[in-house]
Symmetry: C2
Subunit: 304 residues, 2 copies
DNA sequence: GGGACCCTATCGGAAAAGCCGATCAGAGCA
DNA sequence: TGCTCTGATCGGCTTTTCCGATAGGGTCCC
């Protein structure tokens, strides 16, 4: 194993620039004997002489010249390390791997990316879409830094920074009796065909809870993979559904044949939060991200 | 001053590749506590945390990733150093700064460069032309490695590797009485106008010695800066001169209006030698160069 | 939820390296 | 031939590095 101290490479550089052991030692602030020994150690680990000391002036051997070039390169790279550290110390200034659930990602990303780019130009955001349990597993193993999820009750093992509340809105066809109403409740949609996202999506459970799981048998529900598909199914009078406000805000329900109606229920909203590993070294970064999302109001309507 | 051991950078690389302190320590062959301390030291000198150790798996922080990249670069550069040393150990495999005197350089260089390139492809030859005392001064101070000179008696302070003897030939106009002769001697040119190189050129003194300084007063001699100029002056019947065989061999006297004649005199030759600093670290290189010049017979007619 | 297992951090003592001042040997110069 | 300057060497001291043992957490399985 090579035993080589960066400091000794620096000594060598100064030695060449000074042209003399004693001057270099004085310049560095060490004894001449120390420098002599350090250079000999350098030559021993490299495996050849660097300097010709026989003459009145030190003469750099070809090997010494090659080593000098590399030593300068190395010192430059070493010198950058504290700068890297300083840069990393600034909030949201480096790579951050963010996971989002499918009922948020497509609606939030366009605005969020723009907003983050403006506020944190150094941020190198890496985004992945996945269901809650997948994202949390990746956060746990370190493949993701944070996950923006909507089921903060199932994430007790994680640090949760709440972002806000995302209400669920009822979506009905334009010609539906409820289409003109200001608000509706669970009792208004009894017997209706309820359209849900596939199993695994947390929104599915939230919707079932919002309408009251008793009122709709799961067997009677029809599933879709994405919210836009749900919208098209509502348009086609296959049934009705509830979608989160973030999707509505992004235009998910803006076709002319559907209407959104406020849904009054004790559970007609979901709480959004950023989940990260507890005691993670970068918690300051995560807090900054949560604070930014809250302040910008990109998602949710303020903390519960 | 940054106190950082290359070894610890290597530790960090292995640590990241192993994914665990204990595995990395076992792989390197050090104690786990040692590795822990080394990484903490690294983080202290760099100025920020490199890893998040809170979870089950080590997670590389952005700073750690940047440092890892640089560490790998640095290790690669360090690893090349012994290779550089090994290459430098081969003879004539690196830069060599050679000085030549004006009465040799223009005639020898074309053939010598080709020959050296063939024999030592790694050689990076840097050539300078200068008068003997200039070259020797530069050898002494280390700005040149060796000088090919013709006045080895004036260089007692240097290591001299003799290359061979360079005879001096008489040059006369074609219609000169001596032009048809096989040989001539000092007595044959008494009273002739002798053409010499300028003061400072060692050839000037060699010629004066060869003809016997008594036979020609310096005042009667006419000077030129280069041997081709001398040739033109002989052509123009301004006088006669002696030039070294190396110049003749390179075609310096091949115009139709001059003839060369062997000059018989105890001093009608000069000894060529490579001068280098005594006890120089690269003496093996210089010996190899001298041996090559002798073996190739590019200059001189064998050792005296 | 309790216990086993694995992980990293910490501590005291031993080994090694780094450093210093003093001294020695050699080269260059007068 | 001395004198001066320079780098190498040596003994002793300080600092760093390393190790084994141990402590403190986190994770996972029962």
């Amino acid at each position: 194993m090579i035993n080589l101290n960066i400091r000794h490479l620096y000594y060598f550089i100064i030695l060449v620039e000074s042209g003399s052991f004693s001057k270099a030692a004085a310049h560095i602030g060490i004894g001449q004997s120390t420098l002599s020994g350090a250079i000999q150690g350098l030559e021993a680990t490299i495996g050849g002489p660097l300097l010709d000391r026989t003459g009145r002036e030190l003469v750099l051997l070809p090997l010494g010249e090659a080593v000098l070039r590399r030593a300068r390169d190395i010192m430059a790279q070493i010198g950058e390390l504290p700068d890297l550290a300083a840069r990393s110390a600034r909030p949201l200034s480096s790579r951050l791997r963010l996971g989002l659930i499918p009922s948020i990602a497509p609606f939030l990303l366009p605005r969020m990316l723009k907003s983050l780019k403006r506020a944190f130009p150094e941020l190198d955001l890496y985004v992945r879409e996945g269901m809650t349990h997948t994202l949390l597993s990746e956060v746990r193993t370190g493949r993701l830094d944070v996950a923006l999820i909507a089921d903060i009750n199932g994430a007790e093992d994680f640090d949760i920074a709440e972002i806000g509340r995302d209400p669920l809105l009822l979506v009905v066809p334009t010609d539906h009796p409820l289409a003109g109403r200001n608000a509706a409740g669970p009792e208004d949609i009894e017997g209706e065909q309820l359209l849900l996202l596939d199993k695994g999506h947390c929104l599915r459970q939230h919707v079932l809870t919002a309408v009251g799981a008793d009122h709709v048998t799961e067997a009677a529900a029809v599933s879709a993979f994405t919210i836009p598909t749900l919208m098209h199914m509502v348009e086609a009078h296959i049934g009705i559904t509830l979608i989160p406000e973030v999707a509505v805000r992004a235009g998910a329900a803006s076709q002319s044949d559907v209407r959104t109606v406020r849904f009054d229920s004790p559970h007609a909203w979901r709480t959004l939060g950023l989940a990260s590993r507890p005691r993670a070294a970068r918690s300051a970064d995560f807090d900054a991200l949560a604070e930014h999302l809250r302040a910008e109001g990109l998602i949710g309507i303020g903390p519960q």
